[in-house]
């Protein structure tokens, strides 16, 4: 009998197996560190020190995590409807345009708490708009969403470079970026959260968008498990034929799921654009859209899991910076290596350990 159909308790499915995948990914990364001639344990302790050693480190960790929560949710919402959205990167990029336009228009007239909700809507709308065409093509013309969303990432990159170089650039400046937003277009930092724990935020750009990210996670949880739309999405995700027999409109659900996915990806832009650099810059997304794939896989597409996985990747990014600072032999790109391995083991090879687990579990139950 195939071991794939043997039920396992949740703590194994959602706890032990992801943990095992993570450990294998880390062991191989440790091997790479050893290959370079550095100590894997030394690197690990630097990673932890960098991510948790100071208030500033924690602030950076949570800053990165904020972006990853948004993109992780974006990928997860699409996956629940059976769609693999590789386009979160491009949707976040275009979402940045929406949020920057709002900030540029309003920052001199109103305070940040008026700008923020409008910017959330702007970023979400632009992100959703960028997801709409691939969604429409999938729903109505049967083109593969994976391929169209990849194409749209590159189209977004070209479009945004064009806009920043030719349209939005500050006249007379060389850097392809918009002007710096005034106070009305900047999200306040969450220094007070740090001071509760008696430490200082320092220069870390940890900001209010973290709270929006948590709200978004809660919203996604309600949507997926507590609404009719969520039920329809999940049905479609499990079996599109079953959904069709149940009278669930395929095209409508695909488009709605992708619009939501794109909107969530777009909102990610709040964090770097309005929360950190206070301007729209070239390539500000910096791969966060792709990290979202890993985060969603690690977090088993559940909002709570995604929050934990996003913090884990935040630790990797901040700790990775620290390692590359302290061990110049190991460059920052080590993060990409670990990320690739996490995606491989948690995503593509997720069933590798399952037969062994099933075997062990059955022995354990018999005993």
């Amino acid at each position: 009998m195939s071991t794939a159909s043997v039920p396992l308790p949740n703590w194994i499915n959602y706890g032990l197996i992801p943990l095992l995948n993570l450990i294998v990914a880390f062991l191989i990364s440790g091997f790479v560190v050893w290959l370079i001639g550095e100590s894997p344990l030394g690197a690990l302790s630097l990673l932890i020190e960098g991510a948790f050693g100071s208030g500033e480190g924690i602030g950076f960790t949570l800053y990165y995590a904020t972006s990853f929560i948004f993109t992780g949710l974006s990928v997860a919402v699409a996956i629940h409807a059976g769609l693999f959205n590789i386009g979160s990167e491009g949707q976040a990029y275009v979402g940045g345009l929406g949020c920057a336009l709002v900030a540029l228009a309003l920052d001199r007239y109103v305070p940040w708490y008026v700008t923020m909700p409008i910017a959330v809507v702007g970023a979400g709308l632009f992100g959703a708009a960028w997801a709409f065409i691939p969604a429409f093509l999938q729903a109505k013309r049967g083109s593969h969403i994976v391929i169209t969303t990849i194409m749209f990432n590159y189209i977004a990159a070209a479009l945004m470079v064009y806009l920043l170089v030719h349209v939005l650039i500050v006249p007379g400046k060389m850097a392809p970026e918009t002007r710096t937003f005034l106070d009305g277009g900047q999200l306040p930092k969450l220094g007070w959260v740090m001071s509760i724990f008696g430490s200082k935020l320092g220069a870390a750009p940890f900001n209010v968008s973290f709270i929006i990210a948590l709200l978004a996670a809660w919203f996604v949880w309600i949507l997926i498990w507590r609404t009719k739309l969520g039920f329809e999405m999940r049905t479609l995700g499990v079996s599109s034929t079953a959904a069709e027999y149940a009278g669930i409109p395929y095209a409508r659900i695909v488009i709605i799921a992708m619009l939501l996915s794109g909107a969530l990806a777009g909102m990610m832009a709040l964090n770097p654009v309005m929360g950190s650099s206070a301007r729209l810059q070239v390539e500000f997304v910096g791969g966060a859209g792709f990290v979202g794939i890993a985060v969603s896989l690690m977090g088993r597409n559940h909002p709570l899991g995604i929050i934990f996985a996003a913090i884990l990747f935040g630790i990797l990014y901040q700790g990775g910076d620290w390692i590359s600072f302290e061990m110049p032999n190991i460059t920052r790109e080590m993060i990409l290596v670990i990320q690739g391995l996490v995606i491989l083991f948690a995503g593509a090879l997720e069933y590798m350990f399952r037969p062994a687990m099933v075997h062990l579990y059955q022995q354990f139950k018999r005993a």
Binding site: L35, V146, I150, Y162, N329, L336, G347
Partner: protein, 323 residues
Amino acid sequence: MDYYDIFISVLSSTIRLSIPLIFTALAGLFSERAGIFDIGLEGKMLGSAFAAACIAYLTGSAWLGLGAGIVCSVALSLVHGFASITNRGNQIVSGVAINFFIAGITIVLGQAWFGQGGRTPQLSAEARFAPIILPGADAARGIPILGPLYANVISGNNILTYLAFLAVPFSWWVLYRTRFGLRLRAVGENPGAVDTAGISVAWLRYRAVMCAGILCGFAGTYLAIAQSAAFIKDMSAGKGYIALAALVFAKWKPVPVMFACLLFGFLDALANFMQGKQVPLIGEVPVQVFQALPYILTCILLAGFIGVATPPKAGGVPYTKER
């Protein structure tokens, strides 16, 4: 410079820019025709470029570099195969993982071994594939129209360029005129039927991804030690995805793959050429338009506005025997 000279120079850079696309798109053709999606083309190309540059630098031999490029790329293909064939994992996820891993490891190892910010050291002339001057190229230069075409476009390329153009009819022959090719195409359409005929679906698919690995190895090697003289970080720069677009654009057929790659190569060459130049009536066309054009064209094709591109039926679906 008169118009014909411009035409010749754009044409020769079109050829140069198309070669990695042709190899990579053919790689994708073998894999996807067997039912294995391959988003990891980009990573395999980059990985083999790094391996080729390292070994060519260490041994001073371009051919050993090519061998290393192929070995690296095939190894990555086997990882992809292990995940998506043996473990029935998600093929897209596996490809994405390979791209991430390679984008990181090439820079990490490059920096650790050579300390030049992820570059490999500059290669000497012997460690590269040098241009081959075809017989009579110099003599032909004087002949109007055809002379420059022969001397500057057809002659003066390196051996990998000629191999790329040979690989196209060869791939066609393998896919459409051999038993292996027939089975490979069948396994991408209906693996159940192939299984019923007593042929191993897994072994066939493994061979298909290995073919893809070999071809990607050529592409990466071309980038690092034929076109350039070193590995530069992120030097594949999205070419794997363009190749994927070309494959879709060519509707998963070998000869159209070549033409799609030439078209995308031409757009790239045109973008380089048009930089800062005025077009009559329109003015300066932003370079980004040309950069985005292959992707936009592919989406339009996928939408079914220029014929329908039907992917292999079993593409992306892991094969389970019991069903």
